[in-house]
């Protein structure tokens, strides 16, 4: 019962903050709501016996990535009232219609698929098990992600560099 209550509390906050990210006109407010959403998702990861992923979510998403977002908003001065753009009025009903259709399709699949019993194995979510699997079975994808991140860092430096005449 307590688990259900916790789940519905987290789900409620996650849904309302996600709607707030899209509905808010102010990018800074969107970013702060997104951080709240990520923290709620981290809580849900803990309930799915994934403590390591939950901690990574807080450190990398709510910490590093969102700080990058806020930095760029500050750099481009998008938080000022005159810089806040309107939404595309014309496309909005079409977008919500498409979103509703996608939601119906996804949820219909959800209730077709689910018959599996939960199988909590707390060891599977530990840093030890994940690290062992990542450096043995998944070492090649790990290398590719490492190369991708290196290319991403170098590429973003090159893109954002001021051209010196």
């Amino acid at each position: 019962m307590a688990e259900r209550l916790f789940f519905f509390l987290c789900a409620l906050i996650a849904i309302s903050t996600a709607v707030g990210v899209v509905a808010s006109r102010n990018p800074v407010r969107s970013a702060l709501l997104l951080i709240a959403n990520f923290l709620c998702l981290a809580m849900l990861y803990f309930t799915l016996t994934a403590p390591f992923i939950g901690i990574i979510q807080v450190i990398i998403y709510a910490g590093a990535i969102m700080v990058l977002f806020l930095f760029v908003i500050m750099l481009l001065n998008l938080g000022s009232p005159e810089a806040q753009q309107q939404e595309r009025e014309l496309r909005r009903p079409i977008a919500w219609l498409l979103a509703l259709g996608l939601f119906v399709i996804l949820v219909s699949q959800v209730f077709l698929v689910v018959g599996a019993a939960p199988n909590p194995q707390p060891e599977a979510g530990s840093a030890r098990a994940i690290g062992y699997a990542m450096f043995t079975q998944w070492s090649f994808p790990l290398l590719i992600v490492a190369v991708l991140l290196t290319v991403g860092v170098i590429g973003s430096i090159l893109l954002a560099r001021r051209r010196s005449m």
């Binding site: 789940f7 849904i15 990398i60 939404e87 990542m134």
Partner: protein, 106 residues
Amino acid sequence: MATVPASAYLTLAAFLFVIGAAGVLIKRNPIVIFMCIELMLNAVNLTFLTFAFHQPDFQVQVAGHVFVLFVIGVAAAEVAIGLGIIVAIFRLRETIDIDSVNLLRE
């Protein structure tokens, strides 16, 4: 933990994904569009972890967690590149409204 069914988690993930997709279509500010993409990636991570939680096999469960880490890595690279492009476009155009950035269309 077993009292919350997988369908509840998957429905929540579907809802977050759909909200993100609608945001990508609606918003004009590319930074907010990136935030909506992050929302979608997180929804997919939630489904990964939900299915991992319901797997009988230990190896497959760990594989689900490893893939979530890969998704986070790819998201970090994507945000770094995307925000770099946004800064470069802002230097060039003094605006980042995506309806006025149509260099490739002309």
